[in-house]
């Protein structure tokens, strides 16, 4: 069964569904059609794989010069999160003061509004990360 038949963009964005290479076992997010290491050997073996949504901050930066969509949230935190599955994801960290974020901080995925296409357009939802409190 092809990945394309499984893969739906919303499911991927809402539920962190990536793919796992059936040849070497490496996990990728966002999903890709072939494994960059196994190449031909991975064809037809890339299976949907749902990440657990847990990870830690690999690196981050505090953004003061925000695009208009994020004007109300600035200063905000953008980070590269290393997920427990080994894959790295770039995302916003929320419910966290910029002074409190640090490398190695444990975070988990949640769903928030990412972007609105104006006042009458579609609302895009997707993953952001919040600190694990306990």
């Amino acid at each position: 069964m092809t990945v394309a038949r499984f893969w739906r963009e919303n499911s991927s964005r809402y539920n962190l569904v990536g793919v796992k290479c059936g040849n070497c076992g490496k996990v990728f997010f966002p999903p890709r059609t072939i494994c960059p290491e196994c190449r031909r050997l991975s064809i037809g073996k890339m299976e949907p794989y749902k990440l657990r949504g847990e990870g830690e901050v690999f690196t981050f930066s505090i953004v003061h010069d925000a695009p208009s969509q994020l004007e109300l949230q600035k200063p905000y935190i953008m980070a590269i999160i290393e997920m427990t599955e080994g894959v790295r994801i770039t995302a916003q960290i929320i419910d966290c003061d910029p002074a409190e974020v640090h490398i190695g901080m444990k975070v988990r995925a949640t769903m928030r509004k990412i972007r609105e296409e104006g006042a009458s357009g579609i609302i895009h939802y997707g993953y952001k990360f919040i600190p694990v409190t306990k």
Partner: protein, 352 residues
């Protein structure tokens, strides 16, 4: 056939503001407002939160505590008066986010503050008739009062989700009944940003009449008295009304305390009774009995008689935050920050 609660989950945004801080800006006596409404603080959603994200978080917390396969969910209803879209159901996004899509029916419910309990009743009927195996009912809101209006002191955000089924019940719903009339106590016209209310009309002929009528009807049908229940949860537009209605009906403060959240998080509208019940289920023990009455302006009340089952002992409550955890995870805002995050300040049109 038994029908009841298989799992539940809650969510409350982290920001809070006090009536004193709101009063300071509008020249209102915030201290007196706080006393009169019995509200110490209210929850405020972040700019990237809405009913969809609150419903998703509550529903995911519900699923984390349960072993039910999301593919077995046959219906999903979200009750709210602040759905982000006028046309495009909140439930479609929530169903996708908990991986219950596509083999289910979904719809959004509206009945002021009781849309969530109406959703529970609907799921009960579908589960009880054998039409579906499990149903999800969610009550969530991010309500706003016009700046300076009395509603601004109480309107807040939060929600809770319930998985309704026939097996693996942690609480059996023994009976539900409703009381509905055409009462213009509170309304919002299509396209209007803030709601309107009939002032004094919101008290006696609306809230108290409907809540007591549904409550008395339920106890009459069940042959019970207030003393038969360990807990009672009443709709709580402020901290005062539920206390007064409990007293009128003969319930004690001890019975209602566990489910009384409005003093700490404000009026979460459709989220209020679902959250109050979740807070009770967080601490309830087998065989304890819970009395619940929701109220929605317009107007109607839904009443429930619930008995906790021994399965609650093995229920994985700790897999998701308790209502108390959510109430205590808070950050206070000043009014300027509150106005900013709630979009009360007119911004330059955002470009793409």
């Amino acid at each position: 056939m038994d029908v009841g609660i298989v799992s539940y989950g809650a969510y409350i945004p982290r920001y809070r503001i006090t009536p004193q801080e709101i009063g300071r800006v509008w020249g209102t006596d915030g201290e007196a407002m706080s006393r009169n409404l019995f509200i110490i603080s209210k929850s405020v959603p972040s700019p990237d939160e809405d009913v969809v994200t609150i419903a998703v978080e509550a529903a995911r917390n519900m699923m984390k505590r349960s072993t039910v396969d999301p593919a077995e969910i046959g219906s999903l209803y979200v009750g709210s008066e602040s759905h982000p879209y006028a046309v495009k159901p909140t439930g479609t996004i929530v169903a996708e986010a908990i991986e219950a899509a596509p083999d289910l029916t979904a719809a959004d419910f509206e009945f002021a503050c009781k849309a969530g309990t109406a959703a529970i009743q609907c799921c009960m009927g579908m589960v009880g008739s054998g039409m579906i195996k499990y149903g999800v009912a969610i009550g969530a809101d991010t309500s706003q009062g016009a700046p300076g209006d009395a509603l601004e002191f109480s309107a807040s955000a939060g929600g809770a989700a319930y998985l309704i089924g026939r097996d693996k019940l942690i609480a059996k719903i023994n009976k539900t009944c409703s009381y509905t009339t055409d009462t213009p106590d509170f309304w919002r016209r299509e396209g209007a940003h803030y709601p309107s209310h009939g002032g004094r009309f919101t008290g006696e002929p609306a809230y108290f009449k409907h809540v007591t009528s549904a409550a008395k009807k339920l106890m009459e049908e069940m042959g019970t008295t207030p003393g038969d229940y360990d807990f009672a949860v009443f709709h709580q537009p402020n901290g005062k009304f539920p206390v007064r209605v409990a007293k009128q009906l003969g319930f004690t403060e001890e019975q209602i305390n566990a489910g009384l959240l409005t003093p700490f998080i404000g009026n979460t509208y459709s989220g209020a009774v679902p959250l109050g019940l979740a807070s009770v289920l967080d601490i309830a023990k087998p065989d304890q009995r819970i009395f619940v009455v929701a109220y929605g302006s317009g107007a109607g009340s839904d009443a429930f008689d619930i008995t906790v089952t021994p399965a609650i002992r093995k229920f994985r409550k700790e897999a998701a935050p308790s209502v108390r955890d959510l109430v205590e995870n808070k950050k206070f805002l000043d009014y300027a920050s509150y106005a900013k995050v709630r979009g009360k300040i007119r911004m330059k049109e955002a470009s793409q």
